[in-house]
């Protein structure tokens, strides 16, 4: 069904208090609506509250306030039915270091036993690209392979929603691209994917929609192409005239350049036309520019 909500969050808040550090507001009132079948990215710098938010949605953490519904259930009030809810979600945590002494296929096929409607473990191992490492011990895997195994364990139960917390941290560029393809395929199978990342290019490459989170607040939700009004931002045109630099902003840069060209009778000295890059917009949003 189109536009059906997979995750719905209203006014979510969470504050950590510790004796050593006093209290720190991790999540300061977040609203989110994730539609079934989309890849939704939560983008933000380290410490912005991404993991806290996701772990509340996954049922790992209590919240202080607000309403949360994941697949129609409140993760903080699952009661005796919690298995049925967990049966429908898949979780890829930020960092894991377990089951070192087992092989890839032993681990994946074992986890299949936990679910009522698991996928075939061989085909899951194939999908995440670990065919060659099937019989290898987990301790011998590289960081990227380890992460692929984490995804395999996240999807073995055939989940409707897959949570991915900073899935490609520490990957080399080639491994990241391969990983992105894997995630897109999972979306194309009809799964909803919620991922957190602090990489702008990852959100841009993968997400159908992005929420930018800064200091526990969402500053914008949009498609990657429209982020920060990028699509409508004015272009800046600059050139050299009478020995000094001239600059104008315009919604119609091509027309301005044509006028200038006519004025100068051809080439315009030191002409540049700049649209703000996504990176500029993002850095401005998170207060780094």
């Amino acid at each position: 069904m189109a536009n059906e909500s997979a995750i719905s969050v209203r006014g979510l808040t969470k504050t950590y208090t510790s004796k050593a550090n006093g209290s720190k507001v991790a999540v300061a009132g977040i609203d989110l609506e994730v539609t079934k079948g989309e890849i939704f990215a939560i983008l933000g710098p380290n410490g912005a509250g991404k993991t806290t938010t996701v772990e509340i949605l996954e049922g790992y953490r209590d919240r202080d306030g607000g309403e949360v519904k994941v697949l129609g259930k409140d993760p903080a009030k699952l009661g005796t039915d919690s298995w049925a809810w967990r049966n429908r979600i898949g979780i890829v945590l930020q960092s894991t270091n377990d089951s070192q002494d087992l092989s890839v296929s032993e681990t994946v096929s074992h986890f299949a036993n936990y679910y009522s409607n698991p996928r075939d473990s061989d085909s899951v191992i194939h999908d995440v690209g670990l065919d060659e490492k099937k019989n290898a011990r987990i301790q011998s895997l590289s960081g990227g392979q380890r992460r692929r195994l984490d995804v395999a364990l996240g999807i073995i139960g055939n989940p409707e929603i897959l949570f991915l917390d900073e899935p490609t941290t520490g990957f080399d560029p080639e491994a990241r691209r391969a990983f992105w393809d894997l995630i897109r395929n999972l979306r194309d199978e009809g799964r909803t994917i919620l991922l957190t990342t602090h990489y702008l290019d990852e959100a841009e490459a993968l997400a159908d929609r992005v929420a930018v989170i800064v200091d526990g607040k969402i500053v914008e939700v949009s498609t990657p192409g429209n982020l920060g009004g990028r699509n409508t931002a004015k272009a800046r045109i600059s050139w050299l005239e009478n020995g000094s630099k001239q600059e104008i902003e315009s919604d119609f840069p091509a027309a301005e350049v044509a006028k200038l060209s006519a004025k100068f009778g051809g080439e315009v000295p030191e002409l540049t036309v700049i649209r703000p890059s996504l990176e500029d917009i993002y850095l401005k949003m998170i207060g780094q520019l």
Binding site: Y60, N87, Y115, S116
Partner: protein, 262 residues
């Protein structure tokens, strides 16, 4: 439909055993440490405690009983906080698996390790120190239920206690002293009836004293029962104490068990 909790527990048991067997250090420690202790004590104390009862014979009973405490309670109360640190439990928490399945898996691991450990201890004792093995079917049966119930009791208490250490690094320092003190108080290293009365009474509150006594009833001649503090093996009392602790431990474990750090 939900996968069967007990079946998943047994599958977890298989996986736990596989992981255990692949950690050479833990296998060597679990299997060889009791044998080494028997070798040391058996070599030092050569005398007889009673006609036909060597110290080794007495000590093997204590070693098997404390093996149950080491392999179950001590091992799990240290290992589970480490599994929390490594994220093993956090990952499980995110799946539909029941804590009961996890508990069953641990109990199967402990029971299996015990069987192997007891086998090694008896073979070594019989070969080098003239250990007499149980000589009646009744004794073998009693031996079997003591190992089974002892494993379950020790496992569940280890799980319950695993909530106490804050993390894996500190776990051993919290758990090991408790086990060592109980071993001294419960008549593992010394003849129980020669211990001060307050020590005996304190030890009687905990399962190890009763397990040790039960193992003596399996390995020592019937006549030795008169040398016990109660002048009898007190078999029904042993069963009751172990069952009470198992029930208590289960309630505690279900209440206190944490999948991850707070």
């Amino acid at each position: 439909m939900r996968p069967n909790i007990i079946k998943v527990g047994f599958l977890r048991g298989g996986l736990e055993i596989k992981q255990f067997m692949r950690q050479r250090e833990s296998v060597v420690f679990t299997l060889l440490f009791p044998v080494m202790l028997l070798f040391i004590f058996g070599s030092v104390f050569k005398g007889d405690l009673a006609p036909g009862v060597t110290f080794s014979q007495y000590f093997v009973a204590g070693m098997i009983a404390s093996g149950l405490v080491n392999t179950g309670f001590q091992q799990l109360a240290i290992m589970i906080p480490i599994e929390r640190d490594f994220g093993t439990l956090k990952r499980l928490r995110g799946t539909p698996v029941s804590p009961i399945s996890y508990f069953i898996g641990k109990a199967i691991l402990v029971f299996t390790a015990m069987i192997v450990q007891v086998g090694a201890l008896m073979a070594f004792g019989a070969a080098l120190f003239g250990l007499n093995l149980p000589n009646t079917t009744e004794r073998w049966l009693r031996f079997a239920w003591l190992i089974l119930l002892g494993s379950i009791c020790s496992t569940i208490l280890g799980i319950a206690f695993s909530a106490v250490p804050k993390n894996g690094r500190g776990a051993s320092a919290v758990v090991s002293p408790i086990v060592i003190i109980l071993q001294f108080f419960s008549g593992v290293f010394f003849v129980f009836s020669t211990l001060p009365q307050w020590m005996q009474q304190f030890a009687a509150l905990f399962p190890l004293k009763w397990l040790t006594q039960g193992m003596r009833s399996v390995f020592l001649p019937e006549s030795f029962a008169t040398q016990e503090v109660a002048k009898s093996w007190e078999i029904p009392q042993i069963a009751i104490v172990l069952l009470v602790w198992t029930v208590l431990g289960t309630i505690l474990a279900l209440k206190s068990f944490r999948w991850s750090d707070k």
